[in-house]
C-alpha cells in the first residue's frame, strides 16, 4: 500500500491525468495518496496551513462517478479533472479559511472564491488545502509566516524560498502535484529555484487577480507551480483568461474565440534549435554564488549545443531595479493593507489602557495583527509616499520602471527569450537572514525586473550545487508566455537526458528525515 502511494505521488500531473482517463487509477485513490503523504511528511515540512481532506475526497469521488458513467459528461471532463492541487493561502477560498499567513486574518472565511479557484473547481480538481507563505506575501523565505516557517524538502534546516515557500515545498515533497502561487517580486520563481521545482509568473493581467489578497497591485500576479514545465503549462491553461471582475485583466480581444494560448504545446516542443537566447549582463557575476553560476553556464552550453543562438544583452537600468521595487512595492502595500482596520474582517485587539476610540483600537489591532516585516514595509511605504519625499523616492522609482521597460524592449530586439539565474544563491539556512532585511531583499534581484515590466518569467531546475537546487530563469516579452515554456521545456529535456532522470527524482525520502 505504501508502495502504491509512493509511486502515485511521484507521477507528473500529466501522467496522473492520463492514468485517470485510462481508468488505471481513480481520483479518490490519487487524492487519498496525497492526503496520506501530507499526513506522513507535513509535520516536518509545514507546507500546509489547512488541509481540506473531506472536500478534496468529495470532489474526487464526484469526478470518478462522472467518469465511470461514461457518455457526454465523461467526455467533457477537463483533462486535469481529478488531479489534486494546493492553493497558496493568499488566494481566497469559500469554505476553507484564508489567513495570508497573518494573525490579522486568523480564522477568516472568505464569502467568495477567487476567479482562479472558480476555474480550478470548474476543472474539477480536488483542492487539498492552503499553503504557507510569508505574511501577506512579504518575504523570500516563508520565515515571516505567523504560523511558523516551511522547511525545504531537500534539506529541512534550510528555507524553501518565499513568499510561496509552502506551494513550492508541497510540490517538491510530493504532497501535491500542482499548486497555485502569487509572484510580486519573485514569490513563485525563487521558491521554485531553491526547491528544484518549476514556477511561472505569467504576463501581468494574463491570469485574473480577483481574490488574490493584494500586496502591490501593479506587480502582483497569480501563476502555476509544478514539478515539470509541461505540468506548469497545463495548469496555466486552466487559470488564464480575461476576467470581468479584474479591471487589470488583459482584454477579451487577446483571446480569439475565447481560447487561451496553448502553453502546453509550447512546453512539448522540447527543442532549443534556432532559439535566440539573450544573456542579461547585469544578472550574473558579483553577488551570485559560484555554484549557481557554474550551473548557469552549463545550461548555456547545453542550449548552445542544441542549436540555440546565445547573445549577450545589456540592461543597465537593472542595477536600479531592486531600489525601485523596494519603493514601489511598500508604497502600494501600505495603501492596500489600510483595509485591515479591525472593523470589517479578521482580528480586533483592544488597547490595554485608555479610551476605546476607533483610532486607538485600529492602532492596537494592527500592532498585534501584523508581524515585523509587514510593519516594516508599511512604514517604509508611508515614508516613501509622504509629502516632501514623494517625488524623490516614489516618483524616481516610477521613472526607473520606464527605463527597465525600455531595456527589455531593446533586449527583445536581439533575442526571443532572456536567461539568468533565478536566484543569486541556493537555499540558505533558516534564520540566516532573518535579522538583516536588506540581505533578504537581495534574493529577489534577478526576478524583480519582470514584475516591474509586467512580462512573463519561469524558473526551471538547472541542476545542483552542493546538493541543493539551482534555478534557471527565462523571460519573454509581454503576452509571449508560450516562449518561456518553449525555452524551459527545451532546457528541462536537455538536463533530463544528461542526468538520466529529472532533478526531483533526487529529493530525499522525507519519512526517514523526519525520524
Amino acid at each position: 500500500m505504501t508502495h502504491t502511494t509512493d509511486a502515485l505521488v511521484r507521477l507528473t500531473a500529466a501522467e496522473m491525468a492520463a492514468k485517470l482517463r485510462a481508468g488505471d487509477i481513480t481520483s479518490v485513490e490519487l487524492t487519498q495518496a496525497h492526503l496520506d503523504r501530507i499526513a506522513a511528511v507535513d509535520d516536518t515540512i509545514n507546507a500546509f496551513l489547512h488541509v481540506a481532506a473531506d472536500e478534496a475526497l468529495e470532489t474526487a469521488a464526484a469526478v470518478d462517478t462522472t467518469r465511470a458513467a461514461g457518455g457526454a459528461a465523461a467526455e467533457s471532463l477537463h483533462p486535469l479533472a481529478g488531479v489534486p492541487i494546493a492553493i497558496k493561502d493568499l488566494i481566497v477560498t469559500k469554505g476553507q479559511p484564508t489567513t495570508a499567513g497573518s494573525k490579522m486574518l486568523q480564522g477568516w472565511m472568505s464569502p467568495y472564491d477567487a476567479t482562479v479557484v472558480e476555474k480550478v473547481r470548474a476543472a474539477r480538481m480536488p483542492i487539498l488545502g492552503k499553503t504557507n507563505l510569508d505574511e501577506f506575501a512579504m518575504g523570500s523565505s516563508t520565515e515571516h509566516s505567523a504560523y511558523g516557517p516551511t522547511r525545504n524538502p531537500w534539506d529541512i534546516t534550510r528555507i524553501p524560498g518565499g513568499s510561496g515557500g509552502g506551494s513550492a515545498a508541497a510540490v517538491a515533497a510530493f504532497e501535491a502535484p500542482l499548486a497555485l502561487g502569487t509572484d510580486t517580486g519573485g514569490s513563485i520563481r525563487q521558491p521554485g529555484a531553491v526547491t528544484g521545482t518549476v514556477g511561472t509568473k505569467p504576463t501581468y493581467g494574463g491570469v485574473s487577480r480577483y481574490g488574490a489578497i493584494a500586496m502591490a497591485s501593479s506587480l502582483d500576479q497569480i501563476g502555476p507551480v509544478a514539478r515539470t514545465v509541461e505540468d506548469a503549462a497545463l495548469l496555466h491553461e486552466v487559470i488564464a483568461g480575461h476576467d470581468k471582475k479584474d479591471s487589470t485583466s488583459l482584454p477579451e480581444t487577446e483571446y480569439p474565440e475565447g481560447e487561451v494560448p496553448a502553453f502546453s504545446a509550447a512546453a512539448s516542443t522540447k527543442t532549443a534549435k534556432g532559439l535566440r537566447i539573450g544573456v542579461i549582463k547585469q544578472l550574473q557575476g558579483e553577488g551570485y554564488q559560484s555554484g549557481v553560476l557554474a550551473r548557469f553556464h552549463e545550461a548555456l552550453d547545453q542550449l548552445q549545443g542544441a542549436g540555440a543562438e546565445i547573445v549577450e544583452v545589456d540592461c543597465p537600468s537593472f542595477d536600479y531595479a531592486l531600489g525601485a521595487y523596494y519603493l514601489i512595492m511598500p508604497s502600494e502595500a501600505s495603501s492596500n493593507l489600510a483595509r485591515y482596520d479591525g472593523v470589517r474582517y479578521g482580528t480586533r485587539v483592544l488597547p490595554e489602557e485608555g479610551p476605546l476610540t476607533i483610532e486607538r483600537v485600529m492602532g492596537s489591532t494592527r500592532a498585534a495583527g501584523f508581524g515585523e516585516e509587514v510593519k516594516r514595509r508599511i512604514i517604509l511605504g508611508t515614508y516613501a509616499l509622504s509629502a516632501g519625499y514623494y517625488d524623490a523616492y516614489y516618483g524616481s522609482a516610477q521613472k526607473i520602471r520606464t527605463l527597465i521597460q525600455q531595456d527589455f524592449a531593446a533586449a527583445f530586439e536581439q533575442a526571443d527569450v532572456l536567461i539568468s539565474p533565478t536566484s543569486p544563491t541556493v537555499a540558505f539556512p533558516l534564520g540566516e537572514k532573518l535579522d538583516d532585511p536588506l540581505a533578504m531583499y537581495l534574493n529577489d534581484v534577478a526576478t524583480i525586473p519582470a514584475n516591474l515590466a509586467g512580462i512573463p518569467g519561469i524558473s526551471v531546475p538547472g541542476g545542483l550545487s552542493d546538493g541543493l537546487p539551482v534555478g534557471i530563469q527565462f523571460l519573454a516579452p509581454a503576452k509571449q508566455d508560450a516562449r518561456v515554456y518553449h525555452a524551459a521545456g527545451a532546457l528541462e529535456q536537455l538536463l533530463n537526458d544528461t542526468y538520466d532522470a529529472p532533478l526531483w527524482a533526487q529529493i530525499p525520502a522525507l519519512e526517514e528525515v523526519a525520524r
Binding site: 525601485a324 472593523v343 483610532e359 500592532a367 508599511i378 522609482a397 516610477q398 526607473i400 521597460q405 516591474l452
Partner: protein, 113 residues
C-alpha cells in the same frame, strides 16, 4: 547615511495606525535608515526627461451596464467581522471625548457604540 529619527518613525506609525513601543520605534528607525540609503540610488538614474510608469501595461477604463449583479447578504458580509449587531458592523467610538464637545455632536456614553 539617511537621517531617520525615532520621532520620524513615530509620526509614520501614527499615520499608518500602528501602535509601536519605544523599542520598536528605535529598531525601525535604524533599519529604515539602512534600507532608504540603499534604495535612494534610484534618484541617480531618474532624469528629468524620463516619463514615469505607474502600471506595467496600458490600462483603459472598463465599463459595464448599471445592473445589480450578485450581492452578499448582510449575514455573509458580517460572518467574519470582529463585532456586529443588528445587521451592521459594530465599531468603537469614532469621536473621542475631546472631539465631541460641540452642540452638533451625537451624544454617547463612551466606550463602544
Amino acid at each position: 547615511m539617511s537621517e531617520i529619527s525615532r520621532a520620524d518613525v513615530e509620526h509614520l506609525a501614527t499615520l499608518a495606525h500602528i501602535a509601536m513601543t519605544d523599542a520598536e520605534l528605535e529598531k525601525m528607525a535604524s533599519e529604515l535608515a539602512v534600507i532608504v540609503d540603499s534604495v535612494k540610488r534610484v534618484q541617480e538614474a531618474a532624469g528629468e526627461d524620463v516619463p514615469a510608469t505607474s502600471h506595467p501595461l496600458p490600462l483603459t477604463n472598463v465599463f459595464r451596464e448599471d445592473i445589480v449583479g450578485h450581492v452578499f447578504t448582510a449575514e455573509e458580509s458580517l460572518a467574519s467581522a470582529p463585532d456586529a449587531e443588528d445587521s451592521r458592523f459594530k465599531v468603537p467610538a469614532i469621536l473621542s471625548e475631546d472631539h465631541d464637545a460641540g452642540p452638533s455632536s451625537v451624544p454617547h456614553e463612551g466606550g463602544e457604540r
